[in-house]
């Protein structure tokens, strides 16, 4: 048997070009559907894990997929915002804890998430350094955001304008970093968390400026009486919230009408969840409540269908490749007629010749499998984080 392996191995070594080509072709045929399956499964698991840990999401009526994806992955919200009183309404029902999400602004490319400190407890996120937000103008960075922005506790980050044509719309607010989270391999790593009231400051709904009762400059006041002052646009809002100016920050209008992109509702129990869902499904208001798990499941069903089509295509190509491989081997036997004849002349039994030829095929397949495993290993180490980035 050892002699047969020796002969087969040396034949493959001598014809290394042909061997390599065959090994590469076969390994790719095995690898492509396997990797596709692996990617799809891992992606689905990740998406489901995030969705399953988010019991209910409330948002404006519209696309449930947009609401879910923007709330779970901090993408730009595709639906109009809710008013903040909806957060209070959910809380007042006593059925669930309501965690607001405001997702409109960014620090460079990192999303600013306006929320409450309950978010950290809800996601079971640990602090690598520092503490949660305590006062207006403080923020907490996800692990990746801290790395990308090169900021640590005590540093400051500045919010970016919401768009090229929104130079005067949103507010470039300098926020102090008071905490950095442990890496969680979720979209939380990329986020800049702040209190929702701070995002309202960024949006201009709340601001701080010089006391208009004491301002004397004519350029700053359009008019003033004992009870009314009309400030000109020259009155600049503070771009940083400090202990000295924090008391000058005030809210224009009723904060209950301020925007919230989504509300994570964490029901007290299953019964509360059902009551809450029923209430929002029956009422005709502009609010919908969705179960992210169901939305993601639906989304994944579409992904699975695509995966199945791709797998079918890969398997078909694989089968065709195998047929061609077998053809290559059979043609090679015909080409090696003289070589086989010589083996017979020198006394090789028919069984021995068959064994040598079969071992050649087996060795090629074994090498292909080994190469496929190497690909999968490389993908598992380098490709999954890449895939996660794509999903996020």
């Amino acid at each position: 048997m050892n002699h047969s392996i020796y002969l087969a191995w040396n034949y493959l070594k001598y014809h290394w070009g042909k061997t390599l080509l065959l090994v590469f072709a076969i390994s790719m045929v095995i690898f492509i559907p396997t990797a596709l399956n692996l990617f799809a499964n891992r992606g689905s698991e990740r998406m489901m894990a995030r969705a399953v840990t988010t019991p209910l999401l409330a948002g404006s009526k519209g696309s449930a997929t947009d609401l879910t994806l923007s709330s779970l992955y901090f993408r730009d919200p595709g639906i109009p915002p809710l008013e903040y009183h909806e957060v209070k309404a959910i809380e007042q029902e006593g059925l669930a804890t309501a965690i607001p999400l405001h997702i409109n602004y960014r620090v460079k490319t990192q999303p600013i998430i306006g929320t409450s400190n309950q978010y950290f407890g809800f996601r079971n996120t640990q602090f690598r350094e520092g503490r949660p937000m305590a006062v207006l103008g403080e923020c907490v960075l996800g692990a990746v955001a801290a790395e990308v922005l090169g900021a640590e506790v005590g540093d400051a980050v500045i919010s970016s304008p919401a768009g090229a044509f929104d130079v005067a719309g949103s507010f470039p607010l300098k926020m102090t970093v008071v905490g950095v989270l442990e890496q969680t391999n979720t979209p939380d790593d990329d986020a800049v968390f702040t209190d929702i009231k701070t995002t309202w400051v960024i949006s201009g709904k709340a601001h701080g400026h010089d006391d208009l009762t004491t301002v004397t400059s004519d350029s700053l006041l359009l008019s003033r009486t004992d009870s009314i002052a009309v400030a000109s646009k020259a009155v600049l809002s503070y771009t940083e919230i400090t202990p000295e100016n924090i008391n000058s920050f005030h809210f224009h209008g009723n904060p209950d009408s301020y925007p919230v992109n989504a509300v994570i509702a964490v029901p007290k129990d299953k019964k509360s969840e059902l009551i809450l869902r029923g209430r929002y499904e029956t009422q005709g208001d502009n609010v919908q409540i969705v179960v992210p798990e169901l939305v993601v499941e639906e989304l994944l069903e579409t992904v699975v269908s695509i995966k199945e089509i791709l797998t079918l295509a890969a398997v078909s190509i694989g089968l065709a490749t195998l047929v061609i491989t077998l053809l290559v081997f059979s043609l090679s036997i015909r080409l090696r007629k003289k070589e086989i004849q010589t083996l017979r002349y020198i006394g090789a039994a028919r069984g021995r010749i068959t064994a040598v030829l079969s071992l050649e095929i087996l060795l090629v397949f074994a090498l292909s499998l080994l190469l496929t495993l190497t690909y999968l290993l490389v993908i598992a180490i380098l490709g999954i984080p890449l895939l996660e980035k794509l999903i996020h």
Partner: protein
């Protein structure tokens, strides 16, 4: 000799270890009590009377005479975030609440049950920015506890919050609450009889902080913006002269002990001074009830009333 030294070192080491254990044990016992934060003295007093030893009561602005102007620093807020309960006065007493991140489910506004009865502070200032719609920063008067009927309602909110926090202590809290409301109601009745019916006497208030007191007990008055520790100047003299002439003011109610020279100057003008402490901050050597009793005596002094109870 060496043995004796060795024994002494060993004894000293062990006794040292024992001393260190004591505070840890105390901390462990304290940690078992729910931590309750309060933002002003009346709420502190109510929580202390009702909760007693069952709660770990903390009043970070306790050293201030007027916590209404207090703004907690970030570290205090961080400590408050981990509390079990945060009792606030509400009625705009805690203006800093909008600028901090506190868990809303832990915050109880003790004036929430009578929010429709809240009074305006009288100071309204409106401003707008260019062509934006104007918005008013109308002040809400916050010294709700000066109406002892409202103070009792605040105490009820405190009791409910504490019972929810520690249902196993319900009986104790209910008993303490009953005693407290009995005291508050008795004092409320005494206040109701302190101003004669059909009162026409107008007093001057050194600051506009007595809205609930005047509304509940029928005191008529005009507010100034005087500090007790600021000497009366020419403009202030002019101001009080106007009040004397237009309103017939003969008494001024100070929120704190005025300078003797101010009392003397006013006395020469025919204005008598009394102190009615708003009780927002921790009083030095007294408590809420005694402080309010002292306030009652000051009112009686103005109106010349005697005890009718």
């Amino acid at each position: 000799m060496k043995k004796a030294i060795l024994i002494m070192i060993t004894v000293a080491t062990f006794s040292g270890c024992k001393q260190k254990e004591t505070p840890q044990n105390t901390a462990a016992v304290t940690a078992l009590k729910p931590v309750v934060y309060v933002s002003n003295y009346p709420v502190y007093y109510f929580a202390d009377r009702i909760g007693g030893n069952a709660i770990d009561l903390r009043f970070p602005a306790g050293s201030l005479s007027d916590p209404s102007g207090w703004t907690p620093v970030a570290d205090t807020i961080a400590a408050m975030q981990s509390a079990d309960l945060i009792l606030v006065n509400g009625a705009s007493f805690e203006n800093w609440m909008m600028n901090v991140s506190l868990p809303e489910e832990k915050v109880v506004s003790t004036s929430e049950s009578f929010k429709n009865q809240l009074l305006s502070s009288g100071a309204t200032f409106t401003h707008s920015h260019g062509d934006e719609g104007e918005h008013a920063h109308e002040g809400t008067a916050f010294t709700t506890w000066l109406n002892l009927e409202l103070a009792a309602k605040q105490a009820e909110q405190v009791k409910s919050a504490l019972v929810q926090l520690q249902p196993e202590q319900k009986e104790v809290f209910e008993k303490n609450y009953t005693e407290l409301t009995s005291d508050l109601n008795t004092l409320h009745e005494a206040f109701q009889h302190s101003v004669p019916e059909g009162n026409t006497t107008t007093v001057a208030f050194s600051h506009p902080v007595y809205q609930y007191l005047t509304e509940a007990y029928g005191i008529e008055g005009k507010s100034l913006h005087w500090e007790p520790e600021t000497p009366i100047n020419h403009d202030m003299e002019h101001e009080i002269e106007h009040l004397m002439k237009d309103e017939g003011v003969t008494w001024i109610i100070w929120e704190g002990e005025p300078l003797p020279e101010n009392v003397e100057k006013l006395s020469r003008m025919g204005i008598k001074s009394v102190v009615i402490t708003p009780m927002g901050g921790q009083p030095g050597d007294t408590d809420f009830l005694k402080g309010m009793e002292k306030n009652l005596e000051a009112i009686k002094k103005i109106y010349g009333t005697r005890d009718k109870l």
